[in-house]
């Protein structure tokens, strides 16, 4: 079994026959299944990597950012515009704009 922490939640990836289950420890300490029967035949390392990617998709953290434009020459008074930390491990970068509200 492999464990990892993401967004202050503890996840474990456990083998069940030739497949993998993903569990999450809730705030109350109880474990809940996030997924079952995935990644048939994969080795533990590959299953763990895929589980991490899946969890990031299912539980995105961060905001969809369309600004601020920190390179814009016109600042607002003395206000310093600070962009989001897109290198933060929990930040999900939404690089696709809404098709309903394109820029």
């Amino acid at each position: 079994m492999k464990s990892f922490t993401y967004n202050d939640m503890e996840f474990s990836v456990e083998k069940a026959q030739d497949r993998w289950d993903i569990s999450c420890k809730k705030a109350d300490g109880k474990a809940a299944l996030v997924a079952a029967g995935l990644f048939a035949g994969l080795a533990e390392g590959e299953a763990e990597a895929k589980a991490k990617a899946l969890v990031r998709t299912m539980l995105p953290v961060g905001v969809r950012s369309v600004g601020p434009d920190v390179a814009h020459p016109a600042l607002i008074g003395d206000m310093k515009l600070v962009g989001p930390d897109v290198t933060h491990p929990n930040f999900i970068y939404w690089d696709k704009d809404s098709s309903s509200f394109p820029r």
Partner: protein
């Protein structure tokens, strides 16, 4: 199309019809994505499906949000590599009359507010649109054959006290015809779309209601009982397997009639 080996996303599958559909698909060899707003319901259904030996992921999402629909579509592809069946089963009710009159004055004392109108439209219509749209986008871009299922309701005929719900559900019933017309124009021939319009179904919402009121409802049902969620699931399963069913909305009501005996 075979259910076995397919990947199905079912919104609103934390209970009721959606849960029955998900479990039916698993029993028949599909991999499923459970989508619901209520995490404890997701946890229960995911565990049930694991106990059945199925392949499943559970995603908490609000279907009326573009970011959230994108999330469960991507999660399905991350987990299973494709999407073949999308069932838009998430739905809510906020019943009430458009106008209520004061018994003494005969003047309007209360009217349906946007607090009752908008959430029902957001989940039942916008949510169905987003789920079907994004599911179709993934199928087209992935080159995967598929079936899109909108869950309408027999109350699309216009149920008193459900102006919001009936308005959304009549639009959901029409959706398959427009979607398939557009697919034809665009040369998309491997994705079908159907609607399912259940009548009074034995979901927790109905079985838990006042038993006298339930008896009154059943008096108008020729079958003399509620439709079982599994019966709705079997109809959807048949739609998956029978490719001639397309661009239409099928009713499954047990023979729901108006009180004067005319079938709705």
């Amino acid at each position: 199309m075979d259910i076995k080996g397919s990947v199905a996303i079912i919104t609103g599958s934390g209970n009721g019809i959606g849960e029955a559909v998900a479990k039916y698909f698993v029993r028949n060899g599909a991999k499923v994505v459970i989508v619901d707003m209520v995490q404890k319901n997701i946890d229960r259904v995911v565990k049930d499906i694991k106990d059945m030996g199925g392949e499943v992921i559970g995603v908490q999402a609000n279907v009326s949000s573009e970011a959230e629909t994108a999330k469960f579509i991507k999660a399905a592809i991350d987990a299973f590599g494709q999407i073949n069946i999308v069932v838009s089963s998430a739905g809510i009710i906020r019943d009430g009359m458009m106008l209520n009159l004061d018994k003494e004055t005969g003047k309007v004392s209360r009217k349906m507010g946007l607090d009752k109108w908008q959430p029902v439209i957001d989940v039942n219509l916008t949510g169905t649109f987003l789920t079907i749209r994004d599911g179709a986008e993934a199928m087209v871009n992935g080159g995967w054959p598929g079936l899109l299922v909108a869950i309408s309701s027999v109350n699309k005929v216009g149920q008193v006290g459900q102006l919001n719900y009936s308005s959304a559900k009549v639009a959901d019933a029409l959706l398959p015809k427009i979607v398939i017309g557009e697919f034809l124009m665009r040369g998309i021939r491997n994705i079908r779309c159907v609607g399912i319009a259940p009548g009074y179904t034995a979901t927790p919402m109905l079985t838990g209601m006042n038993q006298d009121a339930l008896k009154s409802i059943l008096a108008d049902v020729h079958l003399n009982r509620l439709v079982e969620p599994d019966e709705v699931a079997r109809l959807i399963g048949h739609c998956v397997e029978n490719e001639a069913i397309n661009a239409t909305t099928l009713e499954i009501t047990g023979g729901l009639c108006y009180p004067n005996g005319i079938a709705k």
